[in-house]
Amino acid sequence: MSYLSLSDKDKKEMLARTGVGSVDELFCCIPEAVRLRRLLDLPPAQSELELVRTVDAIGRKNAGVGLLSFLGGGAYDHFIPTVVDYLSSRGEFVSPYTPYQPEVSQGTLQIIFEYQTLICQLTGLDIANASLYDGSTGTAEAVLMAQRVTGRNKVVLAGSLHPQYRAVVRTYIKNLGIEAVEVGFGPDGRIDRTELGRLVDDKTAAVVYQSPNFFGVIEEIKALSDAAHAAKAMSVAIVAEALSLGLLEAPGRLGADIVTGEGQSLGLPLSFGGPYLGFMACKKEFLRQMPGRIAGQTVDKEGRRGFVLTLSTREQHIRRERATSNICSNQALCALRATIFMETLGKQGLREMAWQNAQKAAYAADRLLAVPGVKKRFSGPVFNEFVIDLPKPWAAVDAGLREKGLLGGFGLGSAYPELKNAVLVAVTELRTKDQIDRLARALQEVLS
């Protein structure tokens, strides 16, 4: 099986026109010594039906399907309206390239322009790019951007920033002479501001914090921004749960200079971690240092409104090694899904969804904390995730819950040795009261 469209006759005639006797001759420029003179060792071609059976069989080995999940930690199980899948699967959106020819790409370009507007509205900032890979690489790009803007080579990372985001930042900065220091968290789960005051100095390019943070706790963005600005450092807010922006004040209005994060919650399935959507917005004075593509409005020769990719002198295909980033591909189709999602839910729907998340998480916290032996780990306010301390090791509790068909949360011990028996529990609008009650009952049974 293959997706070729030439008949044997076509092939013969085309070879004749090309002036070669055989297909093999077309490869005469490759030295014979390195030519592969055997078939690749791959399984024989499968028809569509066989392929479906193969993939079904692999899918069945994902034993987590069907378990009632309370996993979050940067990837969230949210409602996706049918129109998102329906519209985003159109060939006109799925199969074009980057819109470098604007006259035949006005659909994609107008959607990016709408997307940038929505991200600006959510984050409370002036400008947004057309997307980055995901929240983790977006965080790394924000760190590099802060270094370019300030000319300083130190960043302060919150210990409550997603552990995998911190890992990616460290990989990116390792070869660039940028130093990262981490600031711890207090009993409220928020950044320890006394320690922050000690760490931020005149060499600091940025304070990088996540809100709601990895423990679900909402940070005091205003105070963190003030602390950064006092040292002329940038305030970089990471939002790993984009839905929270439907309810919480826009970080840009609380002093953040750059807001970047993960847009998966806005209409993208969990999909084992990708593809996801990195979004980034900033104040307009930092425009020239922003990485990634940007769409802008202009007019055609008749004065009609149209959209183009613009300000590309920042980008690698023009500026090469002096570009603001090496990024080329972004996550356009994911940004399209997020745009359809946000416009479908709209002004009231997004807020309502966010409010239900907060309410259900609060209800779940009450129920779980009523289970004997279960304690609240952090006192700070949360959005749709919270951390509880268990009287027993998580591994045993997790196993017990799974036997009852539940994925109760994410054990924090692997990423935070000091939080050995702590569990991060996420509750979205998809979880019903009955399901939350079921988790509470199951936890009680497993612990007793």
Binding site: M1, S2, Y3, S5, V23, C29, L40, D41, A45, G59, K61, G64, V65, V94, S95, P96, Y97, T98, P99, Q101, E103, V104, Q106, I111, E114, Q116, L122, I127, A128, Y133, D134, T137, L144, Q164, Y165, A167, R170, T171, N175, K222, E249, S271, F272, G273, G274, P275, Q297, V299, D300, V308, L311, S312, E321, A323, N326, C328, S329, M342, T344, G349
Partner: protein, 485 residues
């Protein structure tokens, strides 16, 4: 579709109180004062309010303003715009994958890990490498990862070195990726054949050079026939050869990079392995390495232990993570499906037919358009506007006029070493009818350039908008909608 239909911005058709989606009523007791003391939004100011009908019409109308592979030939050189099989879309959204959480315990994700491990194995066989990581999510991300691996390996030997050599025909991401990896870029000039000049390479290759980044076939669509010698020169000075696999479509089943001296490469699954471009992403840029570089691969590495898959984090020499979770998983599922559908013969036919189609176009247009480098073409050929310049017609005019003939323009003005470039890559999936239509259109345009250049300057004539003022867009940036005061 009617050309005159205008579709406003969603914000311009928004009206208070409308909505397109609802949720069930809250089924837990509502705490009105929840989050008291936390800074909350008063409202989502100026967020759109529209009905579901309006949403569907809005995006359907906008979709009709896009050209796409499903509509016709999309001969963007270096971009490999081939047909995207529909079954792969369906299977990538399989409920067993779509609902799978990336932080789920390892015994619940054995299917996902099997997908990734199987694809790694296929890519190793196709590229002739010893191991692959699927964590990088784009070509440029793969380049960065690959260069980090080289740097780590050199550091382990005691000296990270200073320079990276890159031919002047390379894609802009190469120098940019090397730079973010902390290296200084030195450009290598191409020779009259459009390939790397061995003498220049030998001169530039010192023991302060970490690597050569080479694209093969290069961006002219020319195979670097001296690749074995090139690798020897670099290896003799202790450097590594990085291959940008953007043009792997010309090589599958014909020759393996690992067999010609390549130490590290990335492959764009959204090119060679047909995962759709999506208007600019998501892609996937897996990186393959030879043995010496395996210890430095990003964590976690998927390993097999006692008949099951495990995640190996205990890799002290690893460069760390380059992305959260496991990369663009659903994109990788599509590539796996593609390889399973094609099998060993089909994978070889990718390269065979891609190269045949490109040479057919080249032969058909030779003489009508200037070909700066006459070296044999692989999967793409690079013409220029040199002949048409005499009539005041540029590659931009030619490209825009192609749109009137119902074909997407080729890549323009790249590679930089061909002035006024028109870089044409048809891919293997195209029919004779569509190839001939493109050839006829190009010939007609060559004629128009002589007889009626005005029609080219004014093109395109059939689109919703005519040529857009890109200078004004950059000079007076309007990057978002704002409510009129």
């Amino acid at each position: 579709m009617i050309k005159e239909i205008r579709e406003p911005l969603i914000f311009e058709i928004s009206a208070a109180g409308k909505r397109a989606a609802g949720l069930p009523a809250l089924d837990v007791p509502e705490k009105k004062d929840l989050l008291a003391g936390v800074a909350l939004r008063r409202e989502l100011e100026d967020f759109p309010e529209v009905s579901e009908t309006e949403i569907v019409r809005h995006f359907t109308r906008l979709s009709q303003k896009n050209y796409c592979v499903d509509l016709g030939l999309y001969p963007l050189g270096s971009c490999t715009m081939k047909y995207n099989p529909k079954i792969n879309e369906r299977l990538s959204a399989h409920p067993a994958f779509a609902g799978s959480h990336p932080l789920a315990p390892v015994d619940l994700i054995q299917g996902n890990l099997e997908v990734l491990k199987t694809l790694e194995g296929f890519l190793c066989e196709i590229a002739g490498m010893d191991a692959f990581t699927l964590q990088p999510v784009a070509g440029a991300h793969g380049e960065l990862t690959g260069m980090m691996l080289i740097r780590a390996a050199l550091e382990a030997r005691g000296n990270a070195r200073k320079y990276v050599l890159i031919p002047d025909s390379a894609h802009g991401t190469n120098p940019s990726s090397a730079h973010i990896c902390g290296y200084t870029v030195k450009e290598i000039k191409s020779n009259e054949k459009g390939t790397i000049d061995l003498a220049s390479l030998e001169q530039a290759m010192t023991d302060e050079v970490a690597a050569l980044m080479v694209t093969n076939p290069n961006t002219l669509g020319v195979f670097e026939s001296d690749i074995v010698r090139i690798a020897e020169i670099v290896h003799a000075k202790g450097g590594f050869v990085y291959m940008d696999g953007a043009n792997m479509n010309a090589l599958t089943g014909i020759v393996r990079p690992g067999d010609m001296g390549i130490d590290v490469l990335h492959i764009n699954l959204h090119k060679t392995f047909s995962t759709p471009h999506g208007g600019g992403g998501p892609g996937s840029g897996p990186v393959g390495v030879k043995k010496e570089l395996v210890p430095f691969l990003p964590v976690p590495v998927i390993a097999e232990k006692g008949g099951r898959y495990v995640l190996d984090f205990d890799r002290p020499e690893s460069i760390g993570r380059v992305r959260a979770y496991f990369g663009n998983y659903a994109v990788n599922v599509r590539a796996l499906c593609y390889i399973l559908t094609l099998g060993p013969v089909g994978v070889r036919e990718i390269a065979e037919f891609a190269v045949l189609n490109a040479n057919y176009i080249r032969k058909s247009l030779e003489g009508e358009f200037d070909l700066k480098y006459t070296t044999a073409s692989m999967h793409e050929c690079v013409f220029s506007d040199k002949i048409q310049k005499a009539f005041g017609v540029t590659n931009l005019d030619i490209s825009k006029r192609l749109i009137d003939y119902g074909v997407h323009p080729p890549t323009m003005s790249f590679p930089l070493i061909v002035h006024g470039a028109l870089m044409i890559e048809p891919t293997e999936t195209e029919s004779r009818r569509d190839l001939d239509h493109f050839i006829d259109a190009m010939k007609a345009i060559a004629k128009e350039a002589q007889e009626n250049p005005e029609i080219l300057h004014a093109a395109p004539h059939v689109t919703y908008v005519s040529r857009l003022d890109e200078v004004a867009a950059a000079k007076f940036p309007v990057l978002r909608w704002e409510k009129k005061p």
